[in-house]
Symmetry: C2
Subunit: 177 residues, 2 copies
Amino acid sequence: MSFQGEQYPGVQSPTAESDGFRLNHTMLRVKDPERALAFYTRVFGMRVLCRLDFEEMQFSLYFLARPEAGESVPEATGERTVWTFGQRGVLELTHNWGTEEQADFAYHDGNAEPQGFGHICFSVPDLEAAEAWFDANDVEFVKRSDQGKMKNVVFVKDRDGYWIEVVQAERLAALGD
Amino acid sequence: MSFQGEQYPGVQSPTAESDGFRLNHTMLRVKDPERALAFYTRVFGMRVLCRLDFEEMQFSLYFLARPEAGESVPEATGERTVWTFGQRGVLELTHNWGTEEQADFAYHDGNAEPQGFGHICFSVPDLEAAEAWFDANDVEFVKRSDQGKMKNVVFVKDRDGYWIEVVQAERLAALGD
């Protein structure tokens, strides 16, 4: 029998009604899309799968992902939009037009009060190589792997100040035991 | 040649340094883990892949995902933890011990001021069936599919008030054109 999930108070078994549900994306608002896109495409190697503009409501949405090797992303726009909403691990960046020109404008990271959202997380093949890559790109660190109580866990900030956790999966085996 | 990503100001081509990076999870703080786990396991069919307790710092982390049909999740805890951090589409729920007993305690959803994080999104096979399922589970709606400007897009709230977008991918083809 395959793994059915750990049991804790509240946990229930999935029923047929949620068959096919898939956690597709996480949305973060960004002040300046050029700055945010430069960061996520260069530093984290993401690609812009589609952009949706809503002129009447004055905002644009950018959907980014890292297609795995061998995954084929459709070229045709409509087909690609459908593909995008069927994936996992997509990042949606919302740009409310004009915020990039407001000197004092900044979004709330969710870690300062009032708290809520905490971070997104990337896993990487080599944590030290990733840290060197972040340094080479002037990425701000919240915590390096050799700092604090949780070794092997890195936190950096994106250009809007949102926290990004960075881990190397196979180093975390001991956490679960 | 396969799709290389849409080009907008700021967008850069990925380099070798980010090979293998993978958007693994999104972390949200929750007030009451029993309430949150009941919601995400029953309504969205997620499974608890692992739980990590940090007694000294008085918090617990729950990692949830929806393994796809045919995906094999390791039974052994350490191996399963490693597997979890190598996936896409994982939801991490953080429980700071004791918040569930504070009557007035609530987390910030990121959509009220100060804004930042917006929502997570699930894609589903049948949007009307999903809406009926949400109603059957007393899920609070922000917007039904037939309301507002964006037809075919549903927003509900989880038990902490975080927004969850719900879409049926193939209905969104026209958005991209």
